[in-house]
């Protein structure tokens, strides 16, 4: 695993922690909502609970992320949307 992927994995490993740093994740991957959303949905079994197909989940998360970032806000962006969930 290269160092970037390792850093990403290290940050994601802390997703259940109070110190989970979504800002660092955003710097590493540029799509925090997609990464965290996928992780949370799988971790908590939401895909099964809501019977969500992988395609729908992917479209939903990408669309929501774009819906935030397309507005070019310094605060009310996808990071902010994700903070509530993570």
């Amino acid at each position: 695993m290269d160092s970037h992927a390792q850093q990403l994995a290290d940050v994601m490993d802390r997703i259940d922690s109070w110190d989970f740093n979504i800002f660092q994740l955003e710097q590493l991957c540029g799509r925090p909502l997609l990464y965290v959303g996928m992780a949370l949905c799988h971790r908590w079994g939401l895909s099964e609970k809501f019977n969500i197909s992988d395609d729908a989940l992917l479209n939903f998360l990408i669309g929501v992320e774009f819906g935030y970032n397309g507005m070019q806000r310094s605060f009310h962006n996808s990071l902010h949307g994700m903070i509530c969930w993570s």
Partner: protein, 334 residues
């Protein structure tokens, strides 16, 4: 802040804190039904108002709570001739707009993660989502807190101790978003004593913390609103790196909103106190004292259990949680 699930709770909440209430509502691993068990004060330890034993909300739509944010304030949006003002009849216009856009987005088949649910289940998710998004309104924070503390106190025989907090609940539930309320009034009065916002931990007559049945939908919704609101500003209680990044973004956006409001000759945002340039230190103090402290204080009796999944390492360490808040701006939980 994602609060779930039966299975996780079962493995992370200390067994001593979970008690099966009479009637069997307790930990239900994998259950789709949100359940909060009651706890027996005789068996519980320090912070047992809520005994979490199931999902409070496990709703992916929570990430849409500020969807398509236009970067404008409610005050701006209720100023004519805004389309949103007309569309949402001046009531919590910004939040109503987020909600509407979120469900319009979901209406497209390829995005619809609720498509496989039955109609009643979809309706339940929609109802829950509307409840928490509308509860995100800054002007309604006092009401959200009061509703929550009322809901906690309701079952307490000695609820008189909460009277100072409950007196803040006089705002109309659906009042115009731009109408100045008590949060805004407090923001305007610099550095005022906000102690009355901090709810006392309800206690039964024998002095043990009071337990509340959050299996009741109305109480669960009330908890959901206050938890979601706290999650919205949870960076204030996280480490310095996260707090400062969060605050930088917030200051930039508030500055921009203040400029727009000034050009439009609107009343200055209470948080910015009409200052140009923005006093960032003052802004931080205002946010911590007026928004963060009351919310976290309201949740404090419950937070150890409610936030279990995000703070497993703090599960038994309220002191560390307080230390983090102190580090971030001198706010101390009561």
């Amino acid at each position: 802040m994602f609060i779930d699930s039966g299975g996780y709770a079962a493995s992370h909440v200390r067994a001593a804190k979970i008690h099966q209430p009479e009637g069997g509502a307790g930990v239900r691993p994998g259950s789709a039904v949100p359940v909060l068990g009651m706890c027996d004060p005789r068996k519980c330890c320090s912070v047992p108002i809520l005994s979490y034993s199931g999902p409070i909300y496990d709703d992916p739509l929570v990430c849409q709570q500020d969807f398509h944010h236009p970067g404008l304030t409610n005050l701006f949006l209720v100023s004519p001739p805004s389309d949103q003002q007309l569309l949402f009849n001046d009531v919590r216009v910004l939040e109503a707009y987020h909600c509407t856009d979120a469900f319009l987005f979901l209406r497209e088949e390829r995005n619809n993660i609720l498509a496989s649910l039955t109609l009643p289940a979809r309706q339940e998710v929609r109802h829950r989502t509307i409840a928490f998004v509308m509860g995100m309104c800054l002007a309604g924070q006092d009401e959200t807190i009061s509703e929550f503390t009322h809901s906690v106190c309701e079952d307490a025989p000695d609820s008189a101790s909460m009277a100072s907090t409950s007196s803040d609940s006089s705002n109309s539930a659906n009042g115009p978003a731009a109408e100045p309320n008590k949060v805004q009034n407090r923001l305007s009065s610099a550095g005022g004593n906000r102690g009355s916002l901090v709810p006392a931990t309800p206690r039964s007559t024998n002095g043990a913390p009071k337990c509340v049945d959050y299996t009741r939908p109305q109480k669960r919704e009330s908890l959901l609103r206050v938890v979601t609101r706290a999650a919205d500003i949870s960076c204030a209680a996280r480490n310095w790196s996260m707090y400062s990044s969060w605050m930088d973004g917030q200051a930039l956006e508030l500055k921009r909103q203040a400029q727009i409001d000034r050009i439009s000759k609107l009343q200055p945002l209470p948080l910015t106190e009409g200052k140009d340039p923005l006093d960032k230190l003052r802004l931080q103090q205002q946010i911590m004292r007026s928004l963060v402290k009351p919310l976290f204080a309201a949740l404090a009796p419950a937070s150890v259990v409610v936030s279990t999944h995000i703070v497993p390492q703090l599960e038994n360490n309220e002191a560390e949680l307080q230390a983090r808040l102190l580090q971030n701006g001198g706010v101390l939980l009561h």
